[in-house]
Symmetry: C3
């Protein structure tokens, strides 16, 4: 969805203010060049303080003031935090999870299949939408907030699950066989015998329940979206702020949501991206999470939340806030909305700081936001709606993520899948190789010169056949260990591994182990001779038609291969049978993947991003993610550096101060 201007602003909650200051806040926003606030989300107890008693005062104050200050408004439905009166009236709204019945307090603490919850949800949404439906500076609506199933295992949810299984498996014997339930006498001979899923030790069945829970999320978002559509105008968008697997920051693909499915009910995809900062700011999280968001609808996306001051360890160094904002836009985002405007004075996120500190005064973070906002007023029309055409597609798959959570690598536990995915995509990032993120059921594989497949543990026959075809037709495929090992229900294949892909890969293996502390790879390709430690997993690969590029050394497995490459019909495929150090991965990938000419010899901490803007012109961003000044030689047609409004010619030296950037728009 095309935007008219870059959205710049913050989440705003007049509800939590210690004193009335909406106009002061919006004055400061406007002065910073901000143009958007995101409101209402999570404030159900203010909107409906008692059962069926509604109060839109705070909302109206904010909306009216926004109009006075030329701020657009995004309205969120308030449904992800339930009021005390609702839980008192219907205690069964609190979910029963694997950890038992929850208590009231936390947000995201409800059974999204509960009919009482859904009844009250619908009522508050309809009353809210009805109240705001004709307000022109409301530009869009956000459904709920980072929706999950919150691990609901209520009897309602479990009954729905049995119905779901019955539909997929009319013959209960087929079900037992596919899920291997005879093992340890877990057989279910009658659907009435279905035991509480929370005690289940069968990973196939647990994975299916997680898939079912993801489907609940999709259904819930579609359901809200259908209600909202009854009220809104054509130019208003519907979005949702998807988040990511979390390890103190946004780390990888979200295990609990099938974002590709869920995004189909939205006009534009949104994302909440939080990342490490200070000396650890690399741009890799912004890129990886942003690439997922952009790929959900293969379009520009909104950054609905990102950090201003953020958590205690994230306070940005000088210039980092600006670098981050441009990083999002260069990646295809059309907005940077901070969570949140001011720092809250009580409760759980008091130390998740906003643009303003608790004292509401101008501070260094606010001052830097002013720089961003005012630059964008000047050059924003050159930056918005950036179109990318990447040569590399990385395949993402929720079922494989679950599979590697159920059967993890040696030390990575629930993060196993994303650790492999980030291992690969971080290397692409460092090498200045831009990439898209494809759903495993994407029909666009053949649009890419390179397809990268991280640990696709669970795969349908159809997908594996299409990957073979992709190579046969001239594609370049990179596949890691664990791929193709099990079917869509985590039933391990009883055929040769990697199942079906052994054809295009020209390899096979039937054993694997953990690398010992001294197991290494020895890599030999062209003039490159390197060794590197193995970790997490190693498959003992034999080459059938493939050429070995890396062998295991210093262990009992010296006869086996770790990295292989195979020419298959018109294409080429590479297999990585183990994980190893980043330096070697960078070498292996740069030996295998052709880089764009302007990136030749340039790699992290200097990152180049590019795309075509609304004027049809090629834009190249040069970012310096480091404390030290960097110089690079510009390779491209003549153009204009937009920030300094300065002409640039091919082979000019570009100087990038610490945590700074340049943006060059090629002349047509």
């Amino acid at each position: 969805m095309k935007m008219k201007h870059l959205l710049f602003g913050a989440a705003y909650y007049s509800e939590y203010l210690p004193y009335h200051r909406i106009d002061q806040d919006m004055d400061m926003m406007a002065q910073a060049g901000m143009n958007t606030i995101r409101i209402a989300e999570s404030t159900w107890s203010t909107l409906e303080p008692q059962d069926n008693i509604f109060n839109f005062n705070q909302l109206d104050l904010m909306i009216d003031a926004a109009q006075r200050h030329n701020l657009s408004v995004i309205i969120g439905t308030p449904t992800y935090a339930v009021p005390t009166w609702l839980v008192r009236k219907h205690p069964d709204i609190l979910p029963v999870t694997h950890d038992g019945q929850t208590l009231y307090g936390h947000r995201q603490n409800m059974d999204i299949t509960n009919p009482h919850y859904l009844f009250h949800c619908e009522r508050v949404i309809r009353r809210l939408l009805d109240h705001v439906k004709d307000i022109s500076h409301i530009i869009g609506f956000q459904i709920d907030n980072e929706t999950k199933s919150y691990d609901t295992c209520s009897s309602t949810a479990q009954q729905k699950f049995v119905v779901y299984l019955k539909q997929n498996f009319p013959d209960i014997n087929t079900f037992n066989l596919e899920f291997g339930l005879d093992y340890w006498s877990n057989r279910i001979n009658s659907w009435d015998d279905f035991p509480d899923i929370r005690g289940c030790i069968n990973q196939s069945l647990n994975a299916e329940y997680k898939k079912f829970q993801r489907q609940l999320v999709t259904e819930f978002l579609f359901w809200q979206s259908e209600i909202i559509k009854e009220y809104i105008h054509d130019e208003q968008f519907i979005t949702h702020n998807f988040d990511f697997q979390w390890i103190d920051y946004s780390f990888g693909y979200q295990p609990e949501v099938n974002q590709y499915d869920a995004a189909r009910c939205m006009s534009v995809a949104g994302a909440d991206i939080y990342h490490i900062s200070q000396d650890q700011l690399t741009g890799a999280e912004i890129t990886c999470c942003g690439n997922i968001a952009r790929s959900l609808k293969n379009d520009n996306y909104l950054v609905l939340e990102t950090q201003a001051q953020g958590n205690t360890g994230w306070l940005p160094y000088e210039k980092q806030l600006r670098l981050q904002a441009y990083s999002h836009i260069a990646n295809g985002a059309n907005s940077v909305l901070y969570w949140h405007w001011y720092s809250i004075h009580n409760s759980f996120e008091s130390y998740w700081k906003g643009v303003l500190s608790h004292d509401f005064k101008e501070n260094t973070t606010y001052n830097e936001a002013c720089v961003i906002g005012n630059e964008w007023k000047r050059i924003g029309s050159h930056l918005i709606n950036l179109q990318k055409k990447n040569q590399i597609g990385v395949i993402l798959d929720n079922n494989s993520l679950t599979g590697l959570s159920e059967f993890p690598l040696e030390t990575s536990g629930d993060l196993s899948y994303n650790i492999v995915m980030r291992w690969l995509t971080n290397s692409l990032f460092r090498l200045n190789l831009e990439y898209d993120m494809l759903s495993s059921d994407s029909c666009h594989i053949n649009d890419y010169a390179y397809i990268i497949v991280p640990a696709l543990y669970s795969a349908t026959e159809q997908l594996l056949l299409s990957l073979n075809d992709y190579v046969a037709n001239g594609g370049h495929l990179i596949v890691t260990f664990k791929t193709a090992f099990s079917d869509e229900h985590l039933k391990i294949r009883h055929e040769k591994q990697p199942y079906l892909l052994n054809e295009c890969l020209g390899i096979e293996y039937d054993q694997f182990t953990y690398p010992s502390a001294h197991t290494e790879i020895c890599y030999n390709y062209a003039s490159h001779h390197m060794t590197a430690k193995c970790r997490e997993w190693m498959e003992l690969v034999s080459c059938i038609t493939a050429t070995p590029l890396g062998r295991y050394i210093n262990s009992g497995w010296s006869g086996y291969n770790a990295i292989t490459v195979n020419h298959y019909k018109k294409g080429v495929s590479m297999y990585l049978a183990t994980m190893f150090d980043d330096d070697l991965l960078d070498t292996v990938l740069s030996d295998y993947i052709s880089v764009d000419s302007e990136c030749e010899g340039i790699h992290a901490p200097v990152i180049i991003k590019k795309g075509v803007n609304d004027y049809g012109q090629l834009l190249r961003y040069y970012f310096n993610y480091s404390n030290a000044c960097q110089t690079v030689i510009y390779s491209g047609h003549k153009g204009l550096e937009l920030l300094h409004n300065k002409n640039i010619a091919n082979e000019d030296i570009l100087t990038l101060p610490a945590w700074d950037l340049l943006i060059i728009e090629e002349y047509l």
Copy 2:
């Protein structure tokens, strides 16, 4: 409360003996110079083996034998461990806590608001008191044992909490605003909607519940004290054995009790002090915990429990038991009572060993107790009732402790407050700067030349104004990071930080972060130029009128200050915006605080403690807390070294063997 002689003895339980040997035990006690036993506490099931059936046989045997061996007796009420029959009769006596309903077994496992518990409590206390009320060698009574609320979250307790809130907040809107309950829709629009506190994620409300739980403890102790007072004589004291925040030993101020409030119902404060030993014995725990105990009533205190052999890792080296005993007395204690006389042969504390091992034979620990007891018979009258007049007061505050538990430092979790407090007081200890511990609502601030304020996260306006006044009137104030950040309900101030104190401190800040691994302070004062690593927290302080003494280096924050000093009206104040290494802290504090002349140049492991004894004479203790012999030069008037009965003159060299001490009484 003045004592007539130092109490020396142990807790004693004839109830747990494997065979009858009361007279043998008391013979050994008498031979060791012991004069006191503490009994009855925790033995409810012996005193009342069945409902309303009482049996005082064991008690009488001990009391009678004690009289024969000239031992005084302290009687504890037995109420902190409930009998099996009582829980069978009233299962609801077992508390519901944040971890759920408890099972019978552990001590301190009851709901102290439960009416059945209180009924039976009162009956057993009255029967016990009635039984012993006219026995002359009973010198005092101990209420319960290390009382807490045991995290009671029973419906009785929670109903009392709502009543307590209603009283404090007649207007529920004020309550919602002050606690920030609109956040995440936690608003409570009717008191009837109040949810189970155990799910609460609002730190202000959780902190208020903890404060309420501390109030339950105070009420419980007052209630028992009122009952006891009905029975006792004027010369008998009432005490309680307060304990401390525990990390395998007594570490810091007790989070679960407002000891200053609770001590008001007692004639003398008591304390249980356990500490690390062997190579790690420094005297710092005995001093810090003892200073709290002494300050509760600004008077001498009782050490009601301390270790003899103690836990497995605490077995004292030769001479350490004696050094420890004198350390308590030098600090203002009037007793050393071991927990416990003999080592128990079954159950939970079998390896928390007493003076005697399980074999009841004389051993090296017992032999050292004999040395102590017999020395005190000789010189005890010079040591007892030691009066101290310290120049330094350290402010202690339960609410701030809770605040830093809810919003902890980077790595210190629930210990955060006490880690800051001990960081400062350990430095004072090493520098031979004796100090008192003032409650944050103390009216004695102005009695001190120096006031030290560790991490006073939660503070009333009144307290902060009084600290400003203190400096204005000539005081020396030392304030650390986090101080004044929130009000008494942990609502973060929305004004300039440090709230109100920025006036006397001459500084301000609006941002903070965690120090990275290489962030350091560079300190410059007079001839001192030092650097030190920062840790846990750092505020980015700007000087308004203050002088910077320490700046941050090696990070993105080089423009900001870490240590500042400010002359404000007649006084001086210092701000420490981060934590750093002990060496630098010792330097900073010794640059700022004037030491008494006799301590000039003397520091740990040689520790000096002093006070005025019952003869009106100045006593100075010289302790050597190390394995190596130490020498120091005596600075003071002529006096008598009491242990060796030897004259000492100014500038004499004092020789302190490993783990030994000298006590010099100045001649009048």
Copy 3:
């Protein structure tokens, strides 16, 4: 029990196969020289898919095919995993444990005292036995699988426990005294007041409950055994697969079963032995666990489960599978049965791989199994029924294991007892000193030249007196710290320590502590002068008549002894008062224990095992547990090396390639 041939094979489950392939599997087994399958165990839901509906199709298919392929069959009762319908019908079959009520899913998840469980158990066993009772190639029956009480704390179990206590303690006062229940008011004045054991904090009572739970296991196994005996023929055996304390592999004696008692209902003892592998394969686990199994009935035993590929980190290096198989046989095992034939395609143990990988193809592990099977066809008759006559007995005791779990060493927690046991037995193993494992109630102590007593924390007077007598009569005794400290109910002795044994040991102590980081032993004996770090525990031992061999140094405890030796009447005893490094232990033990002449100077990684075979000939195995080739000089009479069919004479040099072995049968 004598076997006719070595059993070689695997557990087999046609129930879990993804497609029908029984004949293909058995062809491959036969080709590998396998002769046995173990079936039916854990497949209740296949045998009885609905209440009282039985289906023996899968069973019959396997049994019939086995006959066609000349495979013997061992039938396991399926009772350790309950079907879904049974739990739906009787939810109270799921046990209540210390962690609460369990949910359906896991195996070994039932209350073995539950009458409904027992009813259905008996019915399925009888129907199964009835079905197979006249089949001649069924050679034996396995009762259940690694049976435990699964920590049942159901009301049925707890009521039985109270009955058990009443029987042992007709006088409740004696009970209270022996268990020390007056402490913390835990006294039980009426059996009706007995509280839920799950809250109990009295270690004596907790230990008694664990002993009671072990008795439940014994009763359950006897009960099943009696049922089975009604159906079987004389030549069929009854066994059970005992397992071991588990730390990712079989580590030590099983805390939850009294295996010596339980084994009395079996014709032959069985064991499940899993061990670390690859570079960490030492043979120590196979030896230690195998020695326990052999000692249970003082006879040959069955290895009913051991790893083929096993867990991911266990994949054997080339030749290791064969080395392992011979290691079991050399230790007195009469079988090597792999768990399991093929790798399962779903559920909990999908990565606990069998002989075959998931692809059912020949692989390196299968190929190595073929070598084993075909060698055994040739030379098996020389290997089977190996008889050992060891000089060293190590005493094992469940109560002491529990005691050290309740009162653990400094860092070893629940593993404390086995850590001490393995510390000693690993040293014996490294020194080529073969040993038996004696139950603490064994009457065979005097059959051994050396008795080794690891941490016998809980001991009856009778046992301690018999150890004194053993030394008096000329035995060599080695006793470690903690021994004799408490009685059979963990009541600590109130007499001199080590209780009673101080007589034969010639020492005493009354204090102990943890070693500090720098505490060491200095050992002096003959020409050996060594120092070593102490760890975990140290007793401060004084010699009465004993000679000190090791003293503590570098600590406050230099007056005390760590290793002592004492000549007492006709024998000699040694006391180890602390744990120390393996190198020193090897020295101390080899100074004290005479080694057999053929082992002189030979130690790990070369391990010698011996015994007398069915031909009455002495067999010596030489194992090389290392990656490097080893050579040793043969010491013995002329003989035949069986694997290479080669004559060997005294002083011949034996060459042992990496992970290889030789077997020399002396000529008569």
